[in-house]
Assembly symmetry: D3
Homo-oligomer: 160 residues x 6
């Protein structure tokens, strides 16, 4: 049975030594949704048609958030990020956020993609909270990962 590698033999946390792992190209895609009142969606949509600011700010926040992952998640390695892209899909009852991040290295890049989605969702919350405090951030999950020793990963389709 594979182990929680972040815990050492005494049960304490450590930053796992990845120095002997091979260098590979790695890509991860994460998704999440922030659900909200229809009126709030409408405001974002209208803003989007003007200058799109809520989602533009969220996008910048997600990308800069991905770069801070090592500083936010205590046992994460500080890795160079080769690229990061985000997209937003406005739905009837909220906004679905997708982030894809990539690296060339010995570890990563799931947490960077998940962090990008989380910070983008929090930013949407922040920018709309004056009109809607009932928003919820839902279902932040890894949908795909390629590269790395443990092989590729794809979330089962019904959960994507």
């Amino acid at each position: 049975m594979s182990q929680l590698t972040h815990l050492d033999e005494t049960g304490r946390a450590k930053m796992v030594n990845v120095g002997d792992k091979p260098i590979t190209k790695r890509t991860a895609t994460a998704k999440g949704k922030i659900s909200m009142a229809k009126d709030t969606v409408q405001r974002i949509r209208t803003g989007s048609m003007k200058k799109g600011d809520v989602l533009s700010v969220a996008q910048v926040a997600g990308i800069t958030g991905a770069k801070k992952t090592w500083d936010l998640i205590p046992m994460c390695h500080n890795i160079p990020i080769s690229g990061c892209e985000m997209s937003f899909e406005i739905e009837e009852d909220g906004v679905t956020i997708t982030a894809t991040a990539s690296t060339i290295g010995q570890t990563g890049i799931e947490m960077e993609a998940l962090t990008a989605v989380s910070i983008a969702a929090l930013t949407v919350y922040d920018m709309c909270k004056a009109v809607d405090k009932g928003m919820k951030i839902e279902s932040i999950r890894l949908v795909k990962k390629t590269g790395g020793v443990s092989g590729d990963y794809t979330l089962e389709e019904m959960d994507q």
Copy 2:
């Protein structure tokens, strides 16, 4: 109809001027859950009974994350945080995370509580992802806020 105060008249984002708002004691409580395989819950629980590291690390990450809110969410003010507490409830299919943060000032403290929950959840994901990539971060939401001009807020009970 109240406005998206983060957008100026041209539709661009700004950091709202709170300089004329009264100083009040403000408290916010946020909740969220990370759902996972039962086997993963079991590993966290067992670890908890030894040295509790997954949740201890998540707790530290949540509190330090709350202090970085201003740096993560572009239009958030940099406010002094009076206190921050977190608790974790281990359930059959995951862990529920609660954070309460407080400040004395002219704005805040919802985003700090929501950020604490989000970063703690991401940390749990990071520390368990070697055994379970299918975890999902669910239902991050504001459950209560007191203080401030706009009055107290409590999420309707069925959603808490």
Copy 3:
């Protein structure tokens, strides 16, 4: 003759003690320009009419940069920022950037406004450098300051 207050009697730097200064409302406005080829201006303008991304990203960068001033400028105090707004004026040969920041406290807020303009200009450079390496950041200056013991300041009109 007033002194360089950042230097102590041995000529070393220090972070000046502002603990005895009165608390006042303070506002500062800074300006600067990034000059560039006409073709580059045209690309930004066209982008602006679509989704405005170069300037949207620069605006977010300027505001988040203002919040990092204390971390960038060694002898600056870490002060709470009440608000920060930025505007961009697209001209024939470049973009003029204006930032206004405010605080309620014992010191500041010139450096925050100047930092916002500087970081926004660097961001424009970054986003356009693939097509124009000859851009120049010009004339970053304080145009107005109100509040504080030393009185209000306005740059002479011809220099504004």
Copy 4:
């Protein structure tokens, strides 16, 4: 016609994927000037002859600023910096600042050099603003770049 690579096909910003670019040794030199009253220059010069603090602090700020470039400029990659050197030339009406930064990697290092100059100039402003609010940061520009796919770049001599 080469494109603004930071914008994706929908006009939104992204962090460009550099994962397929070759690894090369890269060096960039940037320059800028902070102009000021002659009396202010004289104070810096005198300070310099004692302990040189204004410029010493500016130099440290520039180098540490270069290391924060990825955190300041939203679409910049977080790259390892091999080295960074700065020099200051005291002139009659101001101080000229030069920064040279280098990296071995797939992208960079213009923004790091430009950021070093900008933050050093802001630091000089901060340390002298008690005696001279009329200082201006002028002509921050890239003067040379070597390495990378797009070839070397040298600013035309009259602009250096």
Copy 5:
């Protein structure tokens, strides 16, 4: 018997709520020493007489480090620092470092002074390690604290 206030009733850490404490002027002084080979002291001293860079850089690092205390020490509050001064005494077998920091608020300022000394000492180590890996950072301690509910504190003289 007074308690470890950072631990809640279940033994977990929290960021103590200071929202009900009175606002007072607070000052703390910390000291420490980095001991080294006499030859290394000599190099620092000579450098000091030229441009003093080792200690100038250490001083800037200490002051900027003090401002990052909230980000380094997980349960520390993010407080505004009114001022911070450092001094260095070159001795026969090392350098003694003193930092005094002050705030006006509900908590602090011991950790900021202790952090300033620690980071300054680490910086001296970094800048001299090419010639002396045997340096030791010794006896970092709080020597004085004024302000706050618990009263003033002075380290017994023989330990200062």
Copy 6:
């Protein structure tokens, strides 16, 4: 006689160019101690047996501190850390802290190990200062380094 490589020919500091050094696997171990009253040791020990929070928090702080070394020590390079482990030994009159960090690169990893120990010690101070202000951080030192051009280093045994 080897030189203080951080100083350039004019005596100013620089970030040394490591671009021509070979890439090697590097490991460093640092140690330090925080001495305290026996009663304070007893409280930590008891806490340890419950949930171990003082040392758990210190451990997380040390590891996250190691990742911030480049941001704390002005002339340090920003390097990727392959791994970091910490251990704590509770003694009669204090706690001994050991950190081992590793990297694969052209420079480092002494400062990261020394920073981890320093930040962990400061965190212990912070969490126990309500009951014991007389704690001292003692003897932070490099005990071992492997990898790199200058060869391996081991502190003489009596000083370990």
